[in-house]
């Protein structure tokens, strides 16, 4: 069966992130000039405008900054079997924020600042999504 949900269109800036996910690693950028850590990926550092950067591995741990519970599926045919599902903004311990799903918990039990950790969910041979569960 083909995967019907949106799949990341990997580009030259984001390939290292998605390649790392496939290897079970969550990576973010760190500016080689000023040390600023950033996500989502960009070519230039917003603090010093240096294009030089390295990819560092995140601890994969963070806390729930905010979350929603999707009850009405959009598009219906794609998400009908998934509702209710949780989308959260997660503050990683490294200080950057990432959007993802929280699984392994009833949607009603998710709370603010709840500790979570990354797990990896392969959805196609090329793409593995980083999702989160209670830590």
């Amino acid at each position: 069966m083909t995967y019907a949900k949106p799949l990341p269109v990997v580009d030259v800036e984001t390939r290292p992130f998605w390649d790392a996910c496939r290897e079970g690693k969550l990576k973010i950028q760190r500016c080689a000039n000023c040390g600023h850590k950033r996500f989502p990926p960009t070519f230039y550092c917003p603090k010093c405008n240096s294009p030089e950067h390295e990819w560092i591995e995140s601890s994969g741990h963070g806390r729930v900054f905010s979350w929603i519970v999707v009850r009405h599926p959009v598009p219906r045919e794609v998400y009908a079997a998934d509702v209710p599902y949780v989308v959260a903004l997660i503050e990683l311990d490294e200080g950057v924020r990432i959007a993802s799903n929280i699984v392994g918990i009833e949607p009603e039990k998710v709370t603010a600042n709840m500790p979570v950790r990354v797990i990896f969910k392969p959805v196609t041979p090329e793409i593995t999504l980083p999702i989160f569960e209670p830590a």
Binding site: P40, I68, P75, A112
Partner: protein, 385 residues
């Protein structure tokens, strides 16, 4: 900062029916709103020499409207690719364009088949490229889903609750009952609000604005010329556009936004009030961008009508209803009147300031705030009669 205080004015307004299915092209809707605005001002098509519009790839360029209605010399045309954040910015741009001498009489419009055609609120392209590769793959796709994330954060920080959101929805519906333009005029109660279907927690169906086919147009010219026209001028006293740092890579993206309890309003407040030489206390009524109930709360706080975190209690107890301290969205707002991407708020502001809002007229008003946008960037104006 805006330096044109009361030098420019809105001299005409026009709109079409607001419906779920216009059965017409977006171009013809835009043209109708523009023709109506020209007539309202008592002008001829040949008096028009500029256009400013905005769209989401769901409208027609200004030159096509100029062509359809037969404008002989369009000296300026600007089609912003933008969301509701631009609905006041286009009016400010018109004033700037005239000040610069590029045109004299400028039509600002927004036209869309927002329900029967391209639905902003429902679908987005499911291909997750650029920044959406970090949001859409997790089923975070629609604007209600985006804004619900912001709303939750305000609830976490300040205890904002469903009754407060509900009071906004119920108040605006009551306003729409008195507005013949409004799409939703059936009364709703707080119980109706609470029982409305949960779409994306914390948002219910009644927290989410309508989808509309229709168009609005606003005619801008110098205050001096406006005084010789058919209608009482409504002066643009001040305005601002912006949103501070980290506005994101598109209108959905707020991954790097510092604080989802506060939106663009906080960042443009100083510019806005300084430009108008006024403050929140000088505002008689306001038309605040309400794509969702919650966006009202952030804008009230951000623009200084109440302290940060107090927007929830502020909207309770009748304060935002007609007769209250700050009547809001007197036509029913995007929640109940219709969603012409916020430009309908400017139409209502002008009607109120002219004193021609009929049964919903708020008496003895001199100033009206309008705002546009809900998330990381937006615009606002202070209008006066």
């Amino acid at each position: 900062m805006y330096a044109l205080r009361n030098k420019y004015a809105i001299a005409g307004i026009g709109w079409t029916d607001f419906s779920k299915k216009s059965g017409r092209t977006v171009r013809s809707l835009a043209s109708q709103a523009c023709i109506n605005a020209i007539a309202d001002a008592g002008l001829k098509v040949s008096d028009i020499d500029g256009f400013v519009s905005f769209n989401f790839n769901d409208s027609v360029p200004a030159i096509s409207v100029a062509t359809e209605i037969g404008v002989p010399a369009a000296r300026y045309a600007n089609d912003f690719l933008s969301g509701g954040n631009a609905a006041n910015m286009i009016v400010l741009t018109a004033a700037a364009v005239i000040e610069a001498g590029l045109a004299e009489t400028v039509l600002c419009y927004r036209a869309m088949n927002g329900r029967s055609g391209f639905r902003l609120g429902g679908g987005r392209d499911l291909s997750a490229y650029n920044i959406t590769q970090f949001t859409a793959p997790f089923g975070w796709i629609t604007y209600p889903q985006a804004m619900a994330m912001w709303c939750r954060r305000h609830m976490i920080e300040y205890g904002t609750n469903a009754e407060q959101l509900g009071e906004i929805a119920v108040t605006f519906r009551k306003n729409a009952e008195k507005n013949e333009r409004a799409m939703q005029r059936d009364p709703i109660s707080m119980a109706d609000y609470m029982n409305s279907r949960m779409i994306v927690e914390p948002f219910r169906m009644l927290d989410i604005c309508l989808e509309t086919d229709g168009a609005c147009a606003v005619l801008v010219t110098s205050a001096e010329r406006a005084r010789d026209m058919k209608r009482k001028p409504v002066y643009i006293s001040g305005g601002a556009y912006g949103g501070g740092p980290d506005q994101g890579e598109d209108l959905f993206d707020a991954l790097r936004w510092p604080d989802h309890s506060h939106n663009y309003a906080k960042y443009i407040a100083d510019d806005l009030w300084r430009s108008a030489g006024m403050g929140p206390k000088d505002i008689d009524i306001a038309q605040i961008y309400d794509c969702f109930t919650y966006s009202i709360i952030m804008q009230l706080e951000g623009l200084g009508f109440c302290k940060e975190g107090e927007g929830g209690p502020f909207v309770q107890g009748g304060r935002i209803a007609p007769g209250g301290e700050l009547p809001l969205n007197t036509a029913g707002g995007l929640l109940s009147e219709g969603y012409i991407h916020g430009l309908n708020h400017v139409i209502e502001a002008v009607q109120q300031l002219r004193g021609e809002a009929g049964v919903r007229q708020v008496p003895d008003i001199e100033t009206c705030l309008t705002t546009a946008g809900a998330m990381t960037c937006g615009s606002a104006m202070v209008l006066r009669n």
